[in-house]
Symmetry: C2
């Protein structure tokens, strides 16, 4: 028996086909007529069960259906009478493959804790389904852009040695007789070794933060893409990021119209983001915030509130660049025009979705990097390999990191980060 996917029914209009999938929902229209929403992972279709056409025996099977039962169905796709490019399935016969008695996620509202404890089932809900399809698109749009621009995948290790930066937000793992290993928070330093071989590299894997935050923006395990490129300096670094993000926006709009609709995402607003990004220096950003009445000094970092004010009313993201060196990492290169500043840039998404990229040109001078490692109180021994990269054929280079979930939040318009990853891990959540 040949089976068709819901996404392909148009090609089989008015022909008898077989499908396999699940009952999303059903509705009794009259004693003679029922509607069943059927889904199979590739799409959804409304099945029309007409007692007169099916016969009583087969219609009785429809009457017994439960939400989330799995089915084989036989029917004929018909063009929808009103809605263009939509199809209904005239149901001829069906058979239940797997029952679903008292499916726990009913139509009523459930609290987040209940839903998270049933994440293995909640995933089937329409919004979760749509969010994960868009996550897939975002992931590969990032990879496609990088692959076509000379970057090679270079998987950084997750288990990393003693990080002298302090271990308060690091997960610690006993590692044989080597003491402890720590779960990676970013593969960047390793990528800097990779570019010396491959020119341009990136990783894209899970990273971990043992932060005790309980906000809707925090996960303890999330996915991060870090990219690094030899001979790329600060301005070109931002240019690459802008092109990449605009490519992601275009790809999501092109591939996921149906899913954006399910999520009631404002596509027009998203479309407007695919335009030249804004650039502000940190100094300009502070001035802007002060002009809007925010009390902030010239060495403060930004919180969610500041990020929202900066991007307010803008459809495109903002780069905020050239930060005070004190609030940025030791490996960032100093601004040659002002050594008090670091050549770093954060990219802030519009609509309140916050920082989605952090990037910078990296310090490529051995002595300056050594001085910074020392003045931060880090151990030279721990960083000797990283210093070596400045000792043997150092080159100017830059890189940036994209938090996948933050970017998917922006694309989908979903406010809580827990809904854009299959099994979210939070401070109080490790199951299922």
């Amino acid at each position: 028996m040949q089976f068709i996917n819901v996404k392909d029914v148009a090609a089989h209009c008015n022909k008898q086909i077989n499908l396999r999938g699940w009952v999303r929902n059903y509705r009794k229209a009259s004693s003679q007529l029922r509607f069943v929403i059927f889904r199979d992972g590739t799409g959804e279709i409304q099945m029309v069960a007409d007692k007169k056409r099916m016969g009583e025996d087969r219609f009785d099977k429809v009457k017994l259906l439960n939400i989330e039962a799995s089915l084989w169905v036989m029917g004929i796709p018909r063009a929808h009478q009103i809605r263009k490019n939509e199809y209904e399935l005239e149901l001829l016969d069906l058979q239940v493959i797997g029952e679903a008695v008292d499916y726990p996620i009913a139509k009523k509202e459930h609290g987040p804790d209940f839903l998270l404890s049933h994440r293995h089932l909640w995933l089937r809900s329409r919004r979760q389904y749509a969010a994960l399809k868009i996550r897939h698109t975002v992931y590969y749009a990032i990879c496609d852009y990088l692959n076509r621009n000379g970057f090679y995948r270079f998987d950084s290790p997750i288990l990393t040695p003693n990080a002298s930066e302090g271990t308060t937000t690091l997960f610690q793992v006993p590692y044989f007789d080597q003491g402890y290993a720590y779960l990676s928070q970013s593969g960047q330093l390793y990528l800097e070794a990779g570019i010396m071989s491959l020119g341009r590299v990136y990783d894209f894997g899970p990273v971990f933060r043992a932060e005790k935050s309980k906000t809707r923006k925090h996960l303890t395990e999330f996915w991060m893409m870090d990219a690094e490129a030899a001979f790329v300096e600060h301005d070109e670094n931002m240019q690459i990021q802008e092109e990449l993000i605009r490519y992601v926006i275009r790809t999501v709009i092109k591939n996921n119209g149906r899913e954006l609709e399910i999520l009631e995402r404002d596509i027009e607003t998203l479309q407007k983001s695919d335009a030249p990004f804004q650039r502000l220096t940190y100094h300009e950003a502070i001035n802007l915030l002060r002009a809007k009445g925010i009390a902030i000094s010239y060495t403060d970092d930004f919180g969610a509130n500041e990020e929202e004010i900066i991007t307010a009313g803008s459809a495109v993201p903002f780069f905020v660049e050239r930060w005070p060196k004190e609030i940025k990492s030791f490996y960032m290169k100093r601004d040659p025009l002002n050594p008090k500043l670091a050549l770093g840039a954060d990219l802030i998404a519009p609509e309140g979705f916050g920082e989605i990229i952090g990037g910078s040109q990296r310090e490529d001078d051995y002595d300056l990097l050594l001085e910074r490692i020392t003045s931060e109180g880090y151990s030279i021994e721990d960083y000797q390999w990283f210093l070596d990269l400045r000792k043997y054929g150092s080159v100017p280079h830059s890189g940036f990191g994209i938090g996948l979930e933050r970017l998917v939040q922006w694309m989908t318009g979903i406010r809580h980060i827990r809904e854009v990853i299959p099994f979210p891990r939070m401070i109080n959540r490790i199951y299922p």
Copy 2:
């Protein structure tokens, strides 16, 4: 100033160009003539420095070059006089960007421990560079095949709750006040939840084994692709695997001719692997081993030796299918023709590269799965969410897992697994 990549020199033949990269090596041909092998991550080119043509000052700079110094160079690509499609660069001028005094990895032989301690530099070596480029190709060939066949990326969690399967090979991580989390060994169980929403899913991320093995086949951290598909049964599962692996072989041969050459990989042998795979039942495999004089009983698992004997003389991989249920996992479906067997199949690569895929049809019946969980002594509570998948709309389904590094070993012909991952982690190795 515009810069060209080495891979693009052909398009600039006989025109003056600028390049940036590193000195791979140099050779003095005479007092007037030097050859410098120059690399930039996109490829390698031999530069010809002729004192008469360059002038003494510029030639003197060539004489001072060190291995792995980074350079800007100006020159003119010329077609190689003998070798077709090869180019040399007639050197006009150069400038050192970053020195490299006494680069530690010289031409002499180094022991594996020295090389692993200098992995951040060893990566630049020609074989390591080639292996990582092929790793990139293999990774995306797998993703491409899956994406074009209806699979969605579905990132399984790395931090997983108490696994009652026993914790001897699990890395254990203190997790806030939730007790311990464990680093994932496979995302399969989570993918089984994913297919009920998306139909076909896969993950592709790091997995962890706290095994005390020190062989050339073991890493404590490696990359695994797990795929899972609703409505796919045992035979179709093998068919998908075969198509996928043959697609990977073709893609590597197509994209990485130069790298396979660097690695002296026998391409003809690899090419012959892109042909219909062999299938043996476990029973047949045992008979074959016995016929070759191996003492093995009908419930033994295979080791590297058995795998080599089974595939000896074959250019194509072997599926060994329908294993005694006792030596396979609890979640595998029983063979309906013989309930003592599990519908699992291992795929064994030729040329002694061992198992590269393990897969099976999964048990989809609630009661049978419950019985197996109980008889293994596992806790029902831990697996309740997994059992739920058989309670609400269960469907026949199958899946398989590919060890990325094993597959890259086969493609590259590299015998030691530590050379096919950027920063290998082993029992005694966590640095750099």
